[in-house]
């Protein structure tokens, strides 16, 4: 294995031009991204070396931000009015061996255009001397229950934990490092429901599509450990439960950073060691985070395809509110048939057969028992150049085989319009929630102070209303037809 931070420069140098359709839009090229935070209405992340990325919507990312001090693998956390930034200088097994310093600085804004922008150096908060089997790089913050923690370390020996003063960002006097894991990279700390989670990256870094990077986790009731995985293997003995590995065209996820968007929507940032749709370069990734039996699990944006859209509240299928069309069927075939009678297949009802009762214009939409009918089957696909929001593209949702598009209707209703036009009323943001279900939100509402989402207002009545994370009314699943 090789250090994530030390080799990240190689990835950044591979700046070949080309389309970037795979995940996030813009130029999301980065290695070792810091936890994404919001400042001055924009979202920021910083990587190895001095630069970073900035985005207005979490979907389109451009180069931006300034982080002085050089070094590798920063992290950022906001406490009160301050953004604390930590990064490492030296180490990584390359030029400086494993002698390294973790430093901290702070600013009141991350936006260089803001008058509050300006870094104040706190100084060194952790070090390794190059002889001990540890390497003080890849620092990560956790602020929990009024205390500020910092984990650091890499593949070279121990992952360590120190406590900082949240008022200054400096190391607490007398605090001694605690070993909490071994042989991980790019650690991150979480606190949830009385558990502390230590995440880190296993595998090979910095080798493009041959990188085996994957993100692992252990948990403990105490911040100082012992952290163990789902099989009880201590992270100090190499344990770690898988959170996410590469998938599709993106290889080698590493450098986890939690993004809690509230209302039961949690996402995480990472870099992929290689995005094969972008010359194999290292890119920023954002994916939904699920929680299963007390463990973080990598989720998935809804894959393009045709689905029943099922309400978690009622089990009802989102459907055109059109007259039901029977499949011609003689019940005697079923109830009076002899066992020896030949069994022959009967086709499902076709779109053309189902369509005979549809109105030519706008159709109401309601929820009904799923009957494997065309008016209940929706094709969901990202809209090219349609933008997105926080890791997910905007989707169009149309009845399969047609252009009848789900759209915002009058008085908080939803309806199906005869043709898709890319208007904001027909673009949908679909976020996976921490329980694996999905929240569906029209783009037209995305900028609202209290954005509206698709909910089952009644058992059979869909509508747009404020999302309530305590209720199943706004939760949906996508079932293959």
């Amino acid at each position: 294995m090789k250090s994530a931070a030390a080799f990240s420069v190689l990835g950044l140098l591979l700046t070949l031009a080309g389309p970037a359709p795979a995940q996030l839009a813009g130029e999301p090229f980065i290695h070792d991204p810091s936890t994404i935070v919001q400042s001055d209405g924009k979202w920021w992340t910083f990587g190895t070396r001095g630069g970073g990325l900035v985005s207005n919507d979490g979907w389109v990312w451009h180069s931006g931000g300034e982080r002085p001090g050089g070094g590798v693998a920063p992290d950022v956390i906001k406490i009160g009015e301050r953004y604390y930034v930590t990064y490492a200088v030296g180490g990584g097994g390359m030029n400086g061996g494993h002698a390294s310093n973790v430093k901290v600085m702070w600013t009141r804004s991350l936006d260089p255009k803001s008058r509050d922008f300006g870094y104040h150096d706190v100084g060194i908060v952790a070090s390794t001397n190059g002889i001990e089997i540890a390497d003080a790089i890849d620092p990560a913050f956790l602020y929990a229950e009024g205390r500020l923690w910092l984990s650091y370390g890499t593949y070279f020996g121990a992952i360590r934990l120190v406590e900082l003063d949240p008022r200054t960002g400096g190391r607490l006097a007398g605090n001694q490092p605690v070993d909490v894991a071994i042989d991980m990279e790019a650690t991150a700390l979480l606190h949830r429901d009385g558990w502390y989670y230590l995440l880190g990256t296993h595998g090979t870094c910095c080798d493009g599509p041959n990188s085996s990077y994957n993100i692992r986790v252990g948990r403990s009731r105490n911040i100082t450990g012992p952290f163990v995985d789902n099989m009880g293997v201590p992270l100090l003995k190499g344990g770690g439960k898988l959170v996410v590995a590469g998938r599709g065209r993106q290889y080698g996820p590493g450098h986890f950073g939690l993004i809690d968007l509230g209302d039961g929507v949690e996402k995480y940032s990472m870099h992929y060691e290689a995005d094969l749709d972008r010359s194999g370069r290292s890119v920023l990734g954002i994916q939904p985070l699920l929680w299963t039996d007390g463990w973080p699990v990598g989720g998935d944006d809804v894959a393009p395809g045709t689905y029943e859209i099922q309400s978690e509240r009622s089990g009802g299928a989102l459907q055109l509110a059109v007259d039901f069309v029977r499949i011609p069927f003689d019940p005697r075939r079923s109830f009076r048939a002899k066992p020896s009678d030949p069994a022959v297949p009967i086709p499902n009802q076709s779109l053309a057969e189902n369509q005979v009762t549809w109105p030519a214009g706008v159709s109401e939409v309601d929820l009904g028992d799923y009957m494997i009918r065309a008016h209940q089957q929706w094709t969901i696909s990202p809209v090219p150049d349609g933008g997105g929001a926080f890791g997910t593209p905007f989707y169009k949702i149309v009845i399969a085989g047609t252009e009848r598009a789900l759209a915002v209707g009058p008085e908080g209703t939803v309806q199906a319009v005869p043709a898709f036009t890319t208007s904001p009323e027909q673009l949908w943001r679909i976020d996976q929630l921490t329980d694996g279900t999905y929240r569906i939100m029209p783009k037209a509402s995305a900028g609202a102070k209290e954005p509206l989402t698709l909910v089952a207002l009644g058992r059979s009545t869909p509508a747009l209303a404020k999302f309530d994370p305590k209720s199943d009314a706004g939760r949906w699943t996508f079932k293959r037809p």
């Binding site: 059109v322 003689d330 019940p331 009762t357 009904g368 207002l457 009644g458 058992r459």
Partner: protein, 259 residues
């Protein structure tokens, strides 16, 4: 096994009904020949529809209904309206509920098919128009839902293949905007608030509270007439209705009257 009310055949519907009560008249409920055109099995099944079946004797309305008490009523603790004027069932034969499409139901349940003057609130004991002169009954349901099946059974009327009409008057102490009627019915139904169609429930439905919510509507200060009709083939007909505020909470500071 299939239950009545689901889409399997119920062989009692499709019969010719005759009241057991000597004073009653025979009610022709079904022309199964028509149904046979839709579902071939009918023509050869024992539900051919040419058999007369005696209605069982009336069982009475207790304990599910009580006569209305003097003065206006209140919604129950969950907001359900329990005080209604209910009309004896009107024959509308349907051997299965799967044919309750919106087109069919809106045709069957409309101001044109209402057995009387649609804008008028009937009186308790009043006879409505119709072959069998159905009668209006002012009743308080002792459950959150109104068991129309029991109304029919209790009065010795046919229970399957029928339409029930219901009317109540909600008195609101002030204008209330953006409220919704929240309705469940078995099977399909259509509802009007102050003469405007406000909600429809179609298909073979079980009764579930808050099944369909209307679009936001306004309760006027003072009298508001809610009128509905429920159609059912086989199965236990009933409905429940409450009014929700803009936040989805049941409205209880209203009174209900049927006079």
């Amino acid at each position: 096994m299939p239950r009545p009310g689901q889409q399997m055949q119920d062989f009692r519907v499709g019969l010719l009904w005759r009241r057991a009560n000597p004073a009653s008249r025979t009610r022709r409920l079904v022309t199964a020949m028509l149904l046979g055109a839709l579902t071939p099995v009918v023509a050869q099944a024992q539900t051919a529809g040419m058999v007369e079946e005696a209605l069982p004797p009336p069982t009475g309305l207790a304990p599910l209904f009580s006569p209305t008490t003097a003065g206006p009523g209140m919604p129950d603790s969950d907001g359900f309206l329990r005080r209604w004027l209910l009309l004896d069932p009107i024959a509308k034969p349907n051997r299965t509920n799967s044919g309750f499409t919106s087109s069919y139901v809106r045709e069957a349940l409309s101001p044109r098919t209402y057995p009387g003057e649609f804008g008028k609130v009937p009186r308790d004991g009043e006879f409505a128009k119709g072959e069998d002169a159905p009668r209006w009954h002012a009743l308080d349901s002792n459950l959150f839902d109104v068991k129309l099946f029991k109304l029919a059974q209790g009065l010795g009327n046919p229970t399957y293949g029928v339409i029930f009409w219901a009317v109540t008057v909600v008195n609101s102490p002030r204008e209330m905007r953006d409220v919704r009627l929240a309705i469940g019915s078995n099977s399909a139904s259509v509802w009007w608030l102050n003469g405007q169609e406000t909600a429809g429930l179609f298909g073979d439905r079980r009764m579930v509270m808050d099944d369909v919510l209307s679009r936001p509507v306004t309760l006027r200060k003072g009298r508001n007439v809610i009128r509905g009709a429920v159609i059912n083939g086989p199965g236990v007909s009933d409905f429940c209705l409450r009014v929700l505020d803009a936040s989805g909470r049941p409205i209880r500071d209203i009174t209900i009257d049927v006079t």
